[in-house]
Subunit: 443 residues, 2 copies
């Protein structure tokens, strides 16, 4: 990085040009990310054409958009033309429709139709993830013929490691790995080697489901077919890794009460960050009115024993933390497919036993602290510790059950995490606290 | 599933045997997961031997451990012998040392040494992820010779799609994809085709870093070398997908104040779940003593205007939620490599502007609610709303900065999420609240 900047500053363009060619495209994309617009363009134009295309493919969509504003339309057209088909679609999906139109102006009618068809697949569907650059074989081919066919057509394919056997109507009849082809007798027929019992998905399949399939079966690529079982594309594992990270990011965000977005945090505008945060914060703030009205209702209790206020934050905080622990465990287990809705009783029973042990332990520590160290009356220590015990049981059982209930209601379990749960628990904890205090302290 | 159970019940073992052979190993593993011990063993023994090995590889470690208790040592030995090398190591890593010893008893000296060497690599390191089943080529080979070599040795390799060129001392000189070999002229030499400027990692590299490399460069496999640059193994992308999910689970757990564990929630013992939760809950509970002592200090303020207590939970809750939003955004950005430590000022400036907008909006809504709807005095409404505004600013700036500070201190940013942050914020919010109330209400 430092070296590159130095060469730019000293205008050692020839040296820079040579240096860039020894680097990996992904590393150059990373460097471009950190350059000013002017230097960004300068470095990009120093790249040999083939290499520039690879670097462009390695950039994230923000950088690609930035570059497309810096270069002129002819350069852009040239660049897009050479991209792999799925990278091309990814890029065109992200830029304004007007620009897409201008880029595709000089395209052949047939390709333009195809691109527009792909741009119409719903976001996050198999259709928008797949590429058309796969190797297709015929079942009557021999291994030798298949290899010759791969050698002739393989250059611009996304992968040649899984090949797809289709009939005259493009119906998918089987799949075969290059490994099986290479290791087989040269005179054998593809139809005798191919896997007929293969996994395929349709164009409308959701990306989360597709990622599950890749994880379960350890696949490198999966074929995508239309409703008539005609092969329309393939999805490769490198794109699925991105999907997995996207889905995880979405869960992290939902669990923190953020509206999901695809934009990188560091490149987001202030206003879009506000939009991402404000709705849930406002909803949760207004829901917290409940806790206020409970305190109002029990104001007489609090005014008689003001010491009770001292332990309110600790009780609510511990309840929130305990609930967040169990809900996170269950939310994550659902996401990884380890837990199903029918496990709800098993979860409640497990959480009940765990919360008994955790509750008793914390209540004892807490009692000791309040009574022996802080020298409050034994009745206050008792009221607080019993509340804490009940709080833990409520928090862990509700925390464990809510994500499953969300799933049963076809909501995303992730929204039942800490913020929503804490708001519910705060109310319950306060009611428990004041009711128990009233009884024990005889107010 | 239902069908399988029916066949077991009706003792239609022949039909079951046939049915199983039409299924995918991963699907059978899933079914076994849900069977009783007796049926588990019955179904497993109905599988043809080769197929049983594939099913075993598809099982998770809990199921593998279960099976290893159900079958006798000879059967187990037979099974382990046939596993892929990396699956073998994964399995042996998970079972008691005593059992490992018994399984390896009849092994050849050389293999036992190799296995023990692999078992000694630190968990989560490249050494424990890699396999030795790769294709090695010599640089003097022609393409034709290389293909012949692959055909001869490729059967039991984890992948043949990336081949490794080594010298007589097993030093790694280059890598070459099967695609490049297949598409090249048959008489060309491997040394003229191979990539000399390749990415490799050492045996001690952490799995999180390795996953980053796969994501950045879209790799299918990466070579692992020792300190003398001798090739000792390779890591393939299917294992990396598991690593990515493991690392994400770890982050989810840490962010909810859970001690990380590799065990599935639903199969965990109650006691181990307690161990996972109790330490942080206790630490956070004791830290909450701070909030208590602040309330004690300001007890005179509270006893004069008991209405102030009503808004405590709302203020602390909103502070916690706002902090959790910004810390989650930054923690996730760090995990995805989008944010570096040097971005801290950029983050603070961004968070400052976001929190101004969010804070003003929420403060206005809040003021309206307290003054117009709930009919509290204008001074109380003012005190609460100003506190809310300051709370949001503190929460978002601290929430944004803490994960970066953690990273600077070489701690995991994920521990700075909601629970830890909320405990810090609770204290700050209460001090702000009481100080501002004292001034505005002139107590």
């Amino acid at each position: 990085m430092h070296q590159i900047l130095e060469m730019i500053e000293n205008k050692e363009y020839k040296k820079l040009h040579q240096k860039l060619q020894t680097m990996k495209p992904a590393d150059i994309a990373e460097i471009l990310h950190n350059l000013s617009d002017k230097n960004f363009l300068l470095v990009f134009r120093l790249l040999p054409k083939d290499f520039a295309i690879e670097v462009f493919s390695s950039m994230d969509s923000n950088e690609q958009a930035k570059l497309s504003k810096l270069i002129n339309i002819d350069e852009l057209r040239e660049l897009v033309k050479e991209l792999n088909f799925d990278d091309k679609i990814d890029f065109l999906e992200e830029i304004p429709a007007q620009l897409v139109k201008r880029i595709l102006q000089n395209c052949q009618e047939q390709e333009r139709t195809l691109i527009n068809q792909f741009l119409n697949y719903p976001e996050y569907s198999a259709g928008s993830l797949m590429t058309i650059e796969f190797v297709d074989l015929k079942k009557e081919m021999t291994v030798k013929e298949a290899i010759d066919h791969i050698r002739k057509t393989g250059f611009k394919k996304e992968t040649i490691y899984t090949c797809y056997v289709i009939d005259a109507f493009r119906k998918l009849e089987g799949i075969i790995s290059l490994k099986d082809i290479i290791l087989a007798d040269k005179n054998k027929k593809i139809k005798d080697l191919m896997e007929k019992d293969f996994i395929s998905i349709t164009t409308t399949e959701d990306q989360e489901e597709i990622a599950e399939i890749f994880k379960k079966y350890d696949l490198l690529a999966v074929p995508v077919v239309d409703l008539e079982n005609r092969l329309v594309g393939i999805i490769t594992v490198d794109d699925i890794i991105d999907v997995i990270e996207e889905e995880n990011t979405e869960d992290f965000h939902k669990m923190a009460a953020l509206q999901p977005t695809e934009k990188e945090y560091i490149n987001s505008e202030v206003f879009s960050l506000v939009k991402q945060r404000l709705p849930w914060l406002a909803i949760l703030m207004i829901s917290a009115t409940f806790t206020g009205s409970i305190i109002e209702k029990f104001e007489s209790v609090l005014s008689k024993v003001t010491a009770l206020t001292v332990f309110m934050p600790m009780l609510m905080g511990t309840g929130g933390n305990a609930g967040s622990q169990s809900s996170t465990l269950v939310i994550r287990s659902i996401a990884l497919g380890e837990v199903e809705c029918e496990d709800i009783l098993k979860i409640l029973w497990k959480e009940f036993r765990v919360s008994l042990l955790v509750g008793v332990s914390l209540a004892i520590v807490n009692f000791a602290r309040i009574f022996f160290i802080e020298n409050y009356s034994i009745l206050i220590a008792l009221a607080v510790s019993i509340t804490l015990f009940i709080t833990i049981i409520l928090a862990e059982m509700i925390g464990g059950a809510l994500p499953i209930l969300a799933k049963l209601l076809r909501l995303d379990p992730a929204i039942m995490a800490s913020p929503v749960l804490t708001t519910i628990l705060d109310t319950l904890v306060l009611v428990t606290y004041f009711s128990i205090s009233k009884i024990i302290l005889n107010i």
